[in-house]
Symmetry: C2
Amino acid sequence: MIFPSETKLLETISRVTPHVHQTPVITSSFINKLTGAEVVFKCENFQKMGAFKMRGAINAILQLSEAQKKAGVVTHSSGNFAQALSLAAKNLGVKAYIVMPSNAPTVKKEAVKGYGGIITESEPTLQAREAAASKIEREKGATFLHPSNNLDVILGQGTAASELLKKHSDLNAIFTPVGGGGLIAGTALSVHYFGKNCRTIGGEPMAADDAFRSLQSGKIETNTTANTIADGLKTNLGDVNFPIIQQLVSDIIRVEETEIKAAMQLLWERLKLVTEASSAVPLAALIRDRHRFKGEKVGIVLSGGNVDLLNLPF
Amino acid sequence: MIFPSETKLLETISRVTPHVHQTPVITSSFINKLTGAEVVFKCENFQKMGAFKMRGAINAILQLSEAQKKAGVVTHSSGNFAQALSLAAKNLGVKAYIVMPSNAPTVKKEAVKGYGGIITESEPTLQAREAAASKIEREKGATFLHPSNNLDVILGQGTAASELLKKHSDLNAIFTPVGGGGLIAGTALSVHYFGKNCRTIGGEPMAADDAFRSLQSGKIETNTTANTIADGLKTNLGDVNFPIIQQLVSDIIRVEETEIKAAMQLLWERLKLVTEASSAVPLAALIRDRHRFKGEKVGIVLSGGNVDLLNLPF
């Protein structure tokens, strides 16, 4: 497999940076003491629309031709990418068609509408969502953008780690959550080109450990059930990001639900950060395997902060 | 009344700065649009122990003689000052005796213990708390430090606004919550010496509007009841901070409980900041009277982030 070149990643950074927040990096002496590592948190919960997904959405739209931009973009997502594509498209003067399952939480539908996304509801199965998106592609001429299995999206997501490595070039590891694979694949590319003795580590819920199993079996595995509070991490890897993950990710550490909740509580109580459960997964992974990272400098990408305050796990 | 001089405030800044976090300043285009003002948030929820009170506690202890430091410090507080004095004392190698009402939440007692404070429980009346503190003064020779009515504490609290004005010298107003009066008095001193055409504005719950009434009557008023979720703001002003507030605070804006809850929800949902209800009061005040601040540049001191996640108002 030939990875996207360093030039391509550098071009992505130049393209994406003017359109996103350079999110702050936060530290906690409590977390350092707890883990024995020097930990820096990249706060993508402070990103526009509240998650790193804004980066990939911006990059993918900016790569379209003028004709494509005029016809709009379409995706199916009930999560952060729906909001990200809506806001990125709005900011760039492009229409965004969002296919959402009919049972998606009202708060998520409202958020998409608030960012100007045009919602089409579908049955809550992957087939129904894909069919609805295909119909919009055909009828509107809109370009389909996958939330995680699209190279421009992957490169865009990688800019969070690039920013972090620019500030902290001596990181020994960067941890991200693993869901559809876009963030970790992009992060791994940034670590590959800009890290020095740095490795990329994934955190994944035990209850949705498809990526861990995929790395073991050498082919993309799926989750038959995914009973985890980290609801952003239930999706599977794709054929674009999996080869990158296979070659550039050092390890995936799996964590229990109780560990995710405890890590989330630390982020809220100690770091005073509103973060979603998925963001707590890489911290939970570091805490679980802290003996392996003692004395190292570790970055953690806090993926986002879009939570339903009426439905917290505390 | 003769205020503490500019020199005294500058000395305080030099003294306090090495011992506290230079907390980040955060902005939100959503809040700017909502208020019509350019708003910058000074995030004291990211301060050590999670609140601005660390600043005053550090300053007050550093002003003690070596003999006084050896004998320790004492205060009565069920809130953030109890934790602040405990941690500040621990960091400076001093003993901290904390009188807490027996009905204080376990989470607050545990936090004080975690920071090394030595707790004495008392009946939950002001008289009982004062008596218990006096006993410790007599028996241990400890120095009593009032949470808000002590000039060194007031000067220390003012350093948050000084930092903010150093970064944003063109602020037209700085909003703080008003509880015991330490934060707003210190802020008003910083605004007086370092602001240019800047005024100090207080936010106060309608249900505990003693400071508003005190400014009207010209004497310190008390709250007979204080049924507000902003539990840090139930205390009254004191004879040290009241004269400063009388002369240097432009206005106190009172807000309803529903407005406090709505502002708190904005801080959590939109800014992704874990902040206590008291921190939401100045934002609620700005939103309520936003017509008066249209086009202005406004700073808001987010006082702290110590909340009980099991007892949120959402």
